[in-house]
């Protein structure tokens, strides 16, 4: 009887496992195989006939002295900076809003709903609206900054050139922070009120309560939240694609768009797959290091 019970969980997991294999692992393995092939337009019709190219696709991708490698490296740094800023601001805004909305006051429900709107909107509709607002001559952003507030003498470009990076970060933060807000708001519900009452008795101010009670209690939530935000933001494809179209400006050339360019637009699917595998390895490495350190620190704390 006990032996049979042991088998049941595995059996119940089987459909999920089969789906997982089909939907995630098979395409991943196919992608890895493709990365070792010279898969250009001449072979896509029957890609099993594409010649093997060994490590050539990888060599070209990481040859940082040649243009392909150079632009990949540039795209990598742009993505790192973008991720740091977008995740940082989203987390900060999310935390601040969640903490402020803990106090009950008139209109709290309305604000909560309002804050979640960017998260509920379809990405395409939301980002295309931003791209209209960022247009130089007719956009709302320049109308506000230049015509109303007189902050610049001349209308700046937002969708091309240096400012495109700023535009991208603004849209990404706008789109991402409600998720941080939602998660942290849920996390805050689990902190017992008595802790704050006791702290207040002991004379702790708001700032001290935040540092000594709120943030430590939120640590498990934050551990997962920051990781998820990092992975989503680093891999973000929709935002830059809808904002800039197929050829993003160099200053805002995120890695997923860059890989798309390298495979779909230039029809070199082998090179694109090699870059994807490199990206996967990098993300796995970062995730492993992150989990290793954050989990160890939690063990030490406990």
């Amino acid at each position: 009887m006990t032996r049979r019970r042991l088998g049941l969980p595995y059996l119940l997991l089987l459909p999920a496992l089969a789906l997982e294999l089909l939907i995630h692992l098979v395409p991943m393995v196919v992608g890895m195989v493709m990365s070792f092939k010279q898969l250009t337009q001449f072979y896509i019709r029957d890609w099993s006939t594409a010649p093997w190219s060994g490590l050539d696709n990888y060599r070209v991708s990481v040859d940082f002295s040649a243009p392909i490698g150079q632009s990949l490296l540039n795209s990598f740094w742009v993505t790192c900076l973008f991720t740091a800023l977008a995740v940082g601001f989203s987390w900060l805004l999310g935390t601040a809003a969640a903490v402020f909305l803990q106090e009950s006051f008139r209109g709290r429900g309305l604000l909560r709903t309002l804050f979640l709107i960017p998260y509920a909107l379809p990405v395409y509709a939301a980002v295309i609206t931003w791209s209209f607002m960022f247009q130089r001559d007719t956009g709302l952003v320049n109308h506000l900054l230049v015509d109303q507030l007189y902050l610049f003498d001349e209308k700046p470009f937002w969708l091309i050139g240096d400012n495109s990076f700023t535009a991208l970060v603004v849209v990404a933060v706008w789109k991402t922070w409600p998720f941080a807000f939602l998660t942290l708001m849920a996390g805050l519900q689990n902190i017992p009120r008595e802790l704050y009452e006791a702290a207040a008795m002991d004379g702790a101010g708001v700032w001290q309560q935040l540092r000594k009670i709120t943030l430590p209690s939120l640590r498990p939530v934050n551990q997962v939240l920051v990781l998820v935000l990092f992975l989503w933001t680093f891999n973000d494809f929709n935002t830059p694609y809808v904002l800039f179209g197929k050829s993003a400006p160099e200053q805002a050339d995120l890695i997923s768009i860059h890989i798309y360019q390298s495979s779909f637009v230039t029809w070199n699917f082998g090179a694109g797959s090699a870059m994807s595998v490199l990206l996967l390895l990098f993300l796995l490495l970062v995730t492993a290091i992150y989990l290793f350190f954050t989990s160890r620190r939690r063990d030490a704390d406990a």
Binding site: R4, P15, T40, Q41, R45, S71, S247, T266, W267
Partner: protein, 437 residues
Amino acid sequence: MRINRLAAATALVSVLTLTATACGGGSTSGGGDNSSPKTLTYWASNQGTSLENDKQVLEPELRKFEAQTGIKVKLEVVPWSDLLNRILAATASGQGPDVLNIGNTWSASLQATGALLPFDDATFGKIGGKDRFLPATIASAGAAGKAPAAVPLYSMAYGLYYNKKLFDAAGISKPPATWEELVADGQKLTKDGKYGLAIEGGNVSENVHHAFALGKQHGADWFDAAGKPVFDTPEAVATVKQYVDFIAKDKIAAPGNAEYAANQSVTDFASGKAAMLMWQAAGASLKSHGMNPDDYAVAPIPLPAGASGSKAVTSMVAGINLAVFKNSKNTDGALQFVKFMTSNEEQIQLNKTYGSIPPVKDAQADTAFATPELKMLSNVLATGAAPLPQVANESQFETLVGTAVKNLLAAAAAGKPVTEDSVKAELTKAQQQMPAS
């Protein structure tokens, strides 16, 4: 015990269903299949003012075809932004439409994939012969010396649209014939927030089309005789610099044009914000923007002073080709449909609606195409137009050189200097990203 069996059965069924559906997407055999003769799927490109408009234009014609042949055509209008990706996906999976529209500049690239039915003489015979088409349009349907990958459907050429009222007001009596005149006129017209010229600087394809025609005038060919890319020759640098200088040095185009990618330049021309526009068959869209046809006229794109022979090119052969997917399960029906779409009657009807020029010579003689605009453009197409390089790596050329021009225009618009060196650096970078072949 019962629960166990149930679970096992459920698991087994789900695994079986999954593998079965996964195998369903397997390969289909090569051309010549006629196993489903009563239906066709047709991917049309977006030629009208909207996808919905295209459906309204095409559906009655498809019903006519059904009445004639008994073949039902399932229509899908695919936006330009998706079309190439959809074709690539169809090529890779073998699951695609039977008949499809392609941008004619993709012909050689798609020909190289082997996904399209080659139009050899026998196949051309089934649709009424090769000689019915204008030679320049056949030349842009595949690599030289190979059976074309498609047949021409709608043709277009670039012309210089100019606003007659603004020209009169500035005291300019005739459209510019040389680039020197264009820049001089442009500077006269650039005042009071209006500009001499509007360009679509954020649109990679527009950039590369102009770089191609201008390049012909400078003697820059982009690919050498062996099909190798040569993007950073002195001629190519001069070509691109001339185009970027419209914003950088001549200042006859508004800096804001550098981010235009949604046909804002057509809107600017229609609303009188810009006095000149280099565009292909713009008549229909100018009309939809409410511009009075009497207010503008069309002239050939300027040439360098004294240009002749192979340098007297003012336009690419622009247009849409119709192709048959090799994996079609109704190849005979697909060819019947191609014959229908390239018949004189349909050619006149459809090209008239879309404001383009029929590539079929007999259809071109119809009075519908005798407007000054279309007569001028058909003349360009017959005498002053060259097909874009018909090499397998053409689509990479479009993307890389078009993006290089876009980057340079962005730099110029931000007030950064554009020099021969900076142009050469961008073009060298584009060339080095071309796949080795």
